[in-house]
C-alpha cells in the first residue's frame, strides 16, 4: 500500500513540473505591465523602469524562470505585490479559511443530498422524488453569488438573524491561537465558546450557499447510481431471501452505489475549493479564491503561480485519497500506479 502511494506521488511530479512551467508562461503572457501598475498613477517612464528593475522584470524570461524555479525549490513562492506579503504565508493563512468553508458546505450538502437521493431512488415518481428533482434543479441553476446575496438579504438585512457578512469572526472577537487554522476547532481548543459560536454563525450562510449549489450533482448521482444498483440481480436475490428492506438498501445497495458518488464528491470538492471565489467575495471571506482573483486582476504574478501550484498539489492528493477510499469501499478495486 505504502509503496503504491509513493509510486503514485512519483507519477505526480512530472505533472507538477508541467504546471510550474505553464503557469509561469501564462502569467507572463497576460496583458498588462505590473511595473506600470505598481508605479502608481503619477509615475514617469523612469519611475516605471526603476520599479521594473527592482522587481526583476527587466531580465530575460529564461533567467526569470530559473530564478523562480530556484526560489520554489527553497520553498519561496515569492512576494505578492498587491498585498505586500510573502505568497507562501498568505496561502498558508488563507487555505484553512477556504477549506473550513468548503468542507462544512460539502458536509451539509452530503447530509442532505445522499438521504434525498436514496429516498428518491427507492420511491421513484413519489413526492420525494419530485422534491429531489426540484431542489437539485433549482440549486444548480441559481448562480452562487445570487444565492449568497439573497441569503444575506433575507437573513441578515431583512430578518437580522444572521451576523454581518464580515468574514470569519465578528469584528469585536479576536481570532483564536492558530492550531489547525480551522476556527471551529481552534476556538474549541482554546475553550472559547463565545468565539466558537461567533465563528459558527458566520459560517452558516456561506456554507449553506455552497451546499445549495453542490446539492445537485451529489443527489442526482446518488439517485441514479442507487436506481441502477436496486435493479440489479443481487438486490433482487437479497430481497427474495427475505432480508429486511433497511438491510437491503443500506448494507447491500448503498455500499455498492457509493463508488460513483465518491467520484462525484471528489470532483465537487475540488470544484468548490476553486469556485467559491464568488462566495468569498459576497461574504468578505478571507479565502484563497478571492486572493487569486485579485492577484490576477492586478497582474500580480507570484500569487497566481502560487495558487495554481497549491491547487495542483491538492488535486493530486485528493485523487490519491479518493483512490484509497475506493479500495476501502470496494475491495475489488486495486490501487495501482
Amino acid at each position: 500500500m505504502l509503496t503504491m502511494i509513493g509510486k503514485r506521488l512519483m507519477f505526480a511530479i512530472p505533472s507538477l513540473i508541467g504546471v510550474v512551467i505553464v503557469t509561469f508562461l501564462l502569467t507572463r503572457a497576460l496583458p498588462g505591465d505590473p511595473a506600470a501598475y505598481f508605479a502608481g498613477p503619477a509615475a514617469t517612464k523612469e519611475a516605471v523602469e526603476q520599479i521594473r528593475k527592482k522587481l526583476g522584470f527587466d531580465k530575460p524570461l529564461i533567467e526569470q524562470f530559473f530564478r523562480y524555479a530556484n526560489d520554489l525549490a527553497h520553498g519561496d513562492f515569492g512576494n505578492s505585490l498587491t498585498t505586500g506579503q510573502p505568497v507562501a504565508t498568505e496561502i498558508r493563512n488563507r487555505l484553512p479559511a477556504s477549506a473550513e468553508l468548503t468542507l462544512l458546505g460539502l458536509f451539509v450538502s452530503v447530509a442532505i443530498a445522499i438521504p434525498l437521493g436514496v429516498l428518491a431512488a427507492t420511491r421513484p415518481g413519489s413526492w420525494i422524488d419530485h422534491l429531489c428533482r426540484i431542489t437539485t434543479t433549482a440549486g444548480v441553476s441559481l448562480p452562487v453569488f445570487f444565492t449568497g446575496l439573497v441569503l444575506v438579504y433575507v437573513f441578515y438585512f431583512r430578518l437580522g438573524w444572521s451576523p454581518a457578512p464580515l468574514g470569519r469572526l465578528d469584528v469585536f472577537y479576536s481570532a483564536p491561537p492558530t492550531v489547525t487554522g480551522f476556527y471551529l476547532i481552534d476556538t474549541l481548543i482554546a475553550r472559547d465558546l463565545e468565539a466558537f459560536r461567533s465563528a459558527l454563525s458566520q459560517l452558516i450562510l456561506p456554507a449553506t450557499t455552497l451546499a445549495i449549489f453542490s446539492l445537485a450533482p451529489i443527489a442526482r448521482m446518488t439517485r441514479a447510481s442507487m436506481l441502477a444498483v436496486l435493479a440489479s440481480e443481487f438486490v433482487r436475490t437479497a430481497r427474495a431471501s427475505g432480508l429486511s428492506p433497511a438491510t437491503v438498501i443500506v448494507t447491500y445497495a448503498f455500499r455498492n452505489a457509493m463508488l460513483p458518488v465518491i467520484t462525484t464528491l471528489s470532483m465537487v470538492f475540488s470544484f468548490l475549493l476553486g469556485a467559491n471565489v464568488l462566495v468569498e467575495k459576497v461574504f468578505a471571506w478571507p479565502g484563497i479564491g478571492s486572493y487569486a482573483v485579485e492577484a490576477l486582476i492586478s497582474s500580480d504574478f507570484a500569487p497566481v503561480q502560487g495558487f495554481v501550484l497549491t491547487m495542483a498539489v491538492m488535486y493530486v492528493l485528493l485523487n490519491l485519497v479518493i483512490d484509497i477510499l475506493y479500495g476501502v469501499i470496494d475491495p475489488r478495486v486495486r490501487l495501482e500506479g
Binding site: 520599479i51 479576536s174 468578505a284
Partner: protein, 539 residues
C-alpha cells in the same frame, strides 16, 4: 487592555469563577468597545503601510496619513454644504511649532515634546533622514517631491536638534504645499535604520509591515486584504487627541453588502459604492451621505492629436458639440458630479476646473465635421479603464450612441486595470475617457501635467503647442514671483486655448462620496480624498 482580557478580569471579579462572562457584561462591554471604535468598510485595503514603499496603493496612503506626521498640514475651512474642506492656502504646524519662510529657504522649529510610537523623541535628524528618503527612494514619492522642486538631499539641513531648514533650488510656489502632502512624512530613523539591510538601506521592508511614525494612530494588526486595526497614540502632540480610540477597517468586496452593513447600522462608514446606491441612500435619509467635488479633478474625453482624424481641430470641436453631456450627468452619475460644460455666455475665470463653452448641438457638430471633410463620418475606438467600469462603461455607451448620429462608428475597447497605465503611456489610443486630479490645487499644476508640451504621462492626448507652453510656464513663474496680473492673464490664456483647441473635452468634476451613520461627525475633505480619523467622533 484587550476586550477579552478585560472581560475575563471583570467576570473573574464579579463571579469569582472561571465561567464565561455573563451576557449582560458582554453586551455592555461590547457597547463600550463599539462607541469608541470606528468600523470602516471598503472594497480594497492597503498593500503597504509606508507611502515610500514600492507601488504603495491608494488605501495605503490613508494609513500613512493617519499614522505618520508631517512638518506642516493644512487648516480647515468650510466647504460645499458646510463640510470642512482643507484650505489650500493656510498651513498649520503638525510636528513643527513654527515655520519661517525666507527668500530662498524655509526653517521649521520642531515641537520639543513630540515622540515616536516607541517613545524616542522626534529630532531634526529624523526629519532630515525622512525627507532624504522621500527624494531618494525613487518611484512615486520621489516624483511627488520633485513636483515641489524638492529633489536633492542637500536641500534638507539640520540646524540644531530641533530646527530644520529646507533650501529652495529655485523659487516655486508649490514647495511649501508639497511639504504638506502625504509623502514627506517623518519616520523614526533610528528604529528603521536598525532594521535596514545592505540591499534595503531605507528599511522599506520593515516599514511595509509596521508603522514607525509619530502619528495619531498606530497599526496594531494588519491582515492584507482582510483588515487593518489601528489604535490611538495617547501621546500624540500633532493636534488635539482624537476621540476615536480604535479604528477597524474591514475589506468587504461586495458593494451590496457594504450598503447592507451601513443600513443595518453594523458599519460606521463606507465609500466606493455605486452612484445609484449613494443617491438612494441620500434620498431615504437614514444615513449621512457626503458628496464633495474632487479638488482639481476632471473626467474627460481625450483625443490623440497626433493622428487623423483627431489631428484636425474641427473634428475635435465637432466631437465636443456631439457629446451627450446632460445624459451622462443624469444616467451615469445620478447627478453626483459638477457639470463642466455649457458655459456659453460666461467669461473665463482665473480658476480650475471651470466649465467649457460647448453644449450638445448636433447641427453644429455635423457642420464642423463636414467642413473637416468627414461628412460621412469615420471609424474609431473608444477605450476605458475597466477598474472604473461602473462609470466608464455606461459613459462610453452614451458617447458611442451620440457619435453614431454623426456617422462615426465607435468600437468600445475595455482595458483591464492592470493594463490601463501601459496603454496610456503608449499614447496610441485614439479616443478614451479618463480622470485626472491633482493633489496640489492650482490651475497651472493641472495644466503642467495635462497640457504641457513636455508630454508627461497625463498629457494623454500628446498635445503640443508652443503658445500653451508659454502660458503655462508664464503662470508658474508669475506664481513664484507673486506677479498677479501676469498670472491671471496666463491662466485665462491657457484655459481659453485648451477650450479652443479641445484636445480633451472636460465632462464633469467627479464627486467623492462617503456614507456614514448619523452619529458619526467630523468628516473632513482632504486633497487625497481618503479619511482623516483624527477629527472624527462617534455618538
Amino acid at each position: 487592555m484587550k476586550r477579552r482580557d478585560f472581560l475575563k478580569s471583570v467576570s473573574g471579579l464579579a463571579a469569582g469563577a472561571a465561567l464565561p462572562a455573563m451576557p449582560s457584561v458582554i453586551s455592555s462591554a461590547k457597547a463600550d468597545a463599539r462607541s469608541e471604535t470606528l468600523l470602516i468598510v471598503s472594497e480594497g485595503g492597503p498593500n503597504n503601510l509606508d507611502i515610500h514603499g514600492i507601488g504603495t496603493n491608494v488605501p495605503g496612503y490613508e494609513v500613512s496619513w493617519n499614522c505618520y506626521d508631517r512638518l506642516i498640514s493644512h487648516e480647515m475651512k468650510s466647504g460645499p454644504g458646510g463640510v470642512p474642506y482643507y484650505d489650500r492656502d493656510k498651513f498649520k504646524g503638525e510636528l513643527a511649532d513654527d515655520m519661517k519662510i525666507d527668500d530662498m529657504s524655509v526653517t521649521f522649529k520642531l515641537k520639543k515634546n513630540a515622540k515616536f510610537h516607541d517613545g524616542a523623541p522626534v529630532t531634526a535628524k529624523d526629519v532630515k533622514w525622512s525627507l532624504d528618503r522621500a527624494v531618494s527612494v525613487g518611484g512615486f514619492p520621489t516624483f511627488q517631491m520633485s513636483a515641489g522642486s524638492l529633489t536633492k538631499a542637500e536641500q534638507f539641513v539640520v540646524v540644531d536638534d530641533h530646527t530644520v531648514r529646507v533650501d529652495f533650488l529655485k523659487k516655486d510656489k508649490l514647495t511649501i504645499p508639497d511639504l504638506a502632502v502625504i509623502v514627506p512624512c517623518i519616520v523614526n530613523s533610528e528604529l528603521v535604520k536598525k532594521n535596514a539591510s545592505e540591499n534595503d538601506p531605507w528599511g522599506l521592508e520593515f516599514t511595509k509591515q509596521q508603522t514607525a511614525g509619530s502619528g495619531a494612530y498606530k497599526v496594531t494588526k494588519w491582515t492584507a486584504g482582510t483588515e487593518v486595526i489601528m489604535e490611538r497614540n495617547e501621546d500624540w502632540v500633532g493636534g488635539p487627541l482624537p476621540k476615536i480610540k480604535r479604528v477597524i477597517w474591514r475589506m468587504v468586496p461586495q458593494a451590496g453588502n457594504r450598503r447592507a452593513l451601513l443600513e443595518r447600522g453594523d458599519a460606521d462608514i463606507s465609500y466606493e459604492l455605486p452612484f445609484k446606491d449613494f443617491q438612494e441612500m441620500k434620498a431615504n435619509g437614514k444615513l449621512n451621505v457626503v458628496s464633495l467635488p474632487f479638488s482639481n479633478g476632471i473626467q474627460y474625453i481625450g483625443m490623440n492629436v497626433t493622428k487623423p482624424p483627431f489631428d484636425n481641430v474641427k473634428v475635435r470641436q465637432a466631437i465636443a458639440y456631439a457629446l451627450p453631456y446632460q445624459k451622462i450627468m443624469d444616467a451615469v452619475l445620478f447627478g453626483l458630479g459638477n457639470p463642466m460644460f455649457g458655459a456659453k455666455d460666461k467669461a473665463t475665470e482665473v480658476a480650475w476646473p471651470q466649465p467649457h463653452k460647448y453644449n450638445t448641438d448636433m447641427e453644429k457638430a455635423k457642420a464642423l465635421l463636414a467642413e473637416a471633410g468627414y461628412a460621412n463620418g469615420f471609424e474609431t475606438t473608444i477605450s476605458f479603464d475597466l477598474n472604473f467600469a461602473g462609470v466608464n462603461e455606461p459613459l462610453c455607451v452614451l458617447v458611442q450612441e451620440s457619435l453614431a448620429q454623426l456617422g462615426i462608428k465607435t468600437t468600445i475597447n475595455k482595458v483591464p486595470g492592470a493594463n490601463w497605465r501601459t496603454e496610456l503611456n503608449k499614447k496610441e489610443m485614439p479616443l478614451f475617457t479618463n480622470v485626472f486630479s491633482g493633489w496640489l490645487d492650482y490651475p497651472e499644476y493641472f495644466f503642467y501635467w495635462c497640457y504641457h508640451g513636455n508630454n508627461s504621462v497625463f498629457n494623454t492626448m500628446s498635445y503640443k503647442s508652443a503658445a500653451m507652453d508659454k502660458f503655462i510656464d508664464g503662470a508658474r513663474t508669475a506664481a513664484a514671483t507673486g506677479d498677479k496680473a501676469t498670472y491671471d492673464a496666463d491662466v485665462k490664456g491657457f484655459v481659453d486655448l485648451a477650450f479652443a483647441d479641445v484636445p480633451r473635452i472636460p465632462l464633469y468634476q467627479p464627486f467623492v462620496n462617503v456614507a456614514m451613520q448619523k452619529n458619526i461627525s467630523g468628516y473632513q475633505y482632504w486633497f487625497h480624498r481618503r479619511l482623516d480619523y483624527r477629527a472624527m467622533a462617534k455618538g
